[in-house]
Subunit: 205 residues, 2 copies
Amino acid sequence: MVLQTETEQKIIVSAEKLFYQNGKAGTSMQDIADDAGINRTLLNYYFRSKDQLFEAVFRKAMGRFVPNLVAMLHSDISFEEYIPAMVETVIDTMIENPQIPIFVLQELSSNRKRMPQIIKEMGIDPAIALKKMEEEGVSKVTGGMDPRQIILNLLSLSVFPFAAKPVALDILYNGDNEAYLEAMKERKKIIPQLMKQLMSQNRSR
Amino acid sequence: MVLQTETEQKIIVSAEKLFYQNGKAGTSMQDIADDAGINRTLLNYYFRSKDQLFEAVFRKAMGRFVPNLVAMLHSDISFEEYIPAMVETVIDTMIENPQIPIFVLQELSSNRKRMPQIIKEMGIDPAIALKKMEEEGVSKVTGGMDPRQIILNLLSLSVFPFAAKPVALDILYNGDNEAYLEAMKERKKIIPQLMKQLMSQNRSR
DNA sequence: ATTTAGTTTAACGACTTTGTTAAACAACTT
DNA sequence: AAGTTGTTTAACAAAGTCGTTAAACTAAAT
């Protein structure tokens, strides 16, 4: 957004790391200062309060993937075409920040004033999204399946394996992070395939 | 587990509500006492400490759906047969407690000692699970797709829409909780269909 | 009528957290 | 040389949190 000094960046990096990991209430300003290797007073110097620092971190996290969602919902090009590139982007983002989904969803779930606020700021219009879908014939493509279910399926397949990383890693991949990562990359191919199958299969019935 | 007095139950109910909503650090003992309509001292009377109360809540939450997962992974009957009943159970559980997924995943993600501990206690053996799958011919059924990807798909489709409830509700269902609930119930049919398609489609290629 | 278990009230100590302030220091600019 | 900016140190008040304790109260059980 704005130019950032080196220190400001160190603060954000540490704040992200700790807020992602332990949440807002679970992270103290001292924790962040220590992790950033600076004095606690500096935190209040750059970000007036904990609230404001958290707000900065939260908005940055939202900014990493909400645009993808919005673009897909509001775009002109067809839903079907959109999927592969979108899945690739989302998964690449998540691989670098697997904790973002839980962090964001937890915050949205505990602070219910957040969603309406975001919808406004981001200019999301659910009505337009659904209308465009049907105009594009997506609902025909999906063989009558509610387009919202399609979206839920797509997001579920793309995001959940990261939200559930600790479980998946330890139970399915035996703690082998490399194997887990490989599997996540593989999903960039698997998911578009599934979505395509899913839609054409329905269409031909 | 054990007999519970009325008060003990009131405490657990309030603790669940608040821990689910705001996490461990975001919930004070006073908050819980107030919500339960009792005195804070009573909390320490029944559960020695905040840690122990949280532990009770967390274990109860895990107990709601881990058995489903374990049963599926270790069961004798075929994976394909297992899906419909399992999806039904999981979704019914989630409808009543949509916040559990985030709560549990957040805790597992911020407390990394938890997973190994749980794997031990619950008697989960990832090796056995995968072996059984292949013995049952699941890997043939899935046309060579890694059985772990199948499991990820199944869990993603079943659980994520609840973890993302605030987003889905406000963006896709315009805040209409009834509509959202209906959609979730619909998924009890949709998901098994998808999984079946997904597996047979792959098999026939 | 007395005991007992559950509960409340009040209070305490020890500790943490947040935000603020004042003073001093370092380094770089002008 | 003086000024500016970023930074540290030290200290503080206000508020909150947790666990504990002692004393008193209620109501049901013996």
